[in-house]
Symmetry: none
Subunit: 71 residues, 4 copies
Amino acid sequence: MTESGELAPDRPIPSENHLADEYGVARLTARRTAQELRERGLIVTVRGKGSFVVEHPPTGAPADDEDKPTG
Amino acid sequence: MTESGELAPDRPIPSENHLADEYGVARLTARRTAQELRERGLIVTVRGKGSFVVEHPPTGAPADDEDKPTG
Amino acid sequence: MTESGELAPDRPIPSENHLADEYGVARLTARRTAQELRERGLIVTVRGKGSFVVEHPPTGAPADDEDKPTG
Amino acid sequence: MTESGELAPDRPIPSENHLADEYGVARLTARRTAQELRERGLIVTVRGKGSFVVEHPPTGAPADDEDKPTG
DNA sequence: GTGGTCTAGACCACT
DNA sequence: GTGGTCTAGACCACT
C-alpha cells in the first residue's frame, strides 16, 4: 500500500499548503479534497497538527449522514 | 463557594502551563482564556507571580463597551 | 507621499505572510504589528480580503489612553 | 568530540527546560549556564529556535568585555 | 517557576 | 489567497 507514494496509517498526510503547491491547485481545492476524505472517514483532522489516515476506515457510513433507526 | 473547584479571591488561578496541561490545549490557548478573564476584570495578572481572582469584579461594564446612561 | 515605500489610503498593505517573509519574522509577529496599527486606527482589517490604510486616521487619541483635558 | 554526550557544532543544545529537568536544577540555573556559554562565545542563541554550538569559538575575548584601543 | 514573546507550521473561515 | 486560530516548543523578563 505504500509502494507508490500512497498514504500510510497513522502518518500525517501532506499539509494543505504542500498539496496545493505540489499539484499546482488552489488551497481551497486542497482543502475541499481533505474535507471529502474526512467525510468519508478516511482521514481524521486535528487543528494545528495535521490530518491523519485512519487505520480501519468505515465501509460506507459517513458521520453526517447516519440515521439512528427508531425500532 | 470553593467546594466544587471554583476560584477564590486573592488566590492564584492555576498557571498557564498547568491549565494547558489540564485541558489538553496549547499554552497560547490557555493564555487567550486568561486574557479574556483579565479584560472582563475578573482576574489581575502579575508577571512572575501568577494571575489572581479580584474580590469585587465589575458587574457588567467591560472597558470598551461601557455606556454611561444619561438618566 | 507614496514615493518611498509609504502606504497609500484605500490600498491593501502587504499580507501577513508577505510581511513575515519580508522581515524574516514569524507570522504571529507580523500579526501583532498589524494589530497595533489596527488599535491605533491606522488600518482596518477585512477577513479574507486584507488590511487597508484608513484615509483620516485619529490624530492622537487611542481608545484606552485618551485624556480629556479640563482647560 | 561527540563520543560521550558532548555537544556538536551546528546542533541545538538541549532546551532550558530539558536541561533543568535532566539535571534536576531550577530553570534559572539552566538559563544562567546558557548565558555564561553565550558570553564566552561558545553558543549562539536564537529566540524561539534554541541555542547552538558555534563552530570556531573565540580563544578568550568575550563580546561584552572587549575594549577598543585608542592608538 | 510564573507570565511574556518568539519561531515554525498546521487547519479554519471567508471572499 | 487573505486573515483567524490552533499545536508545539523555544528563550526572555521577572520575582
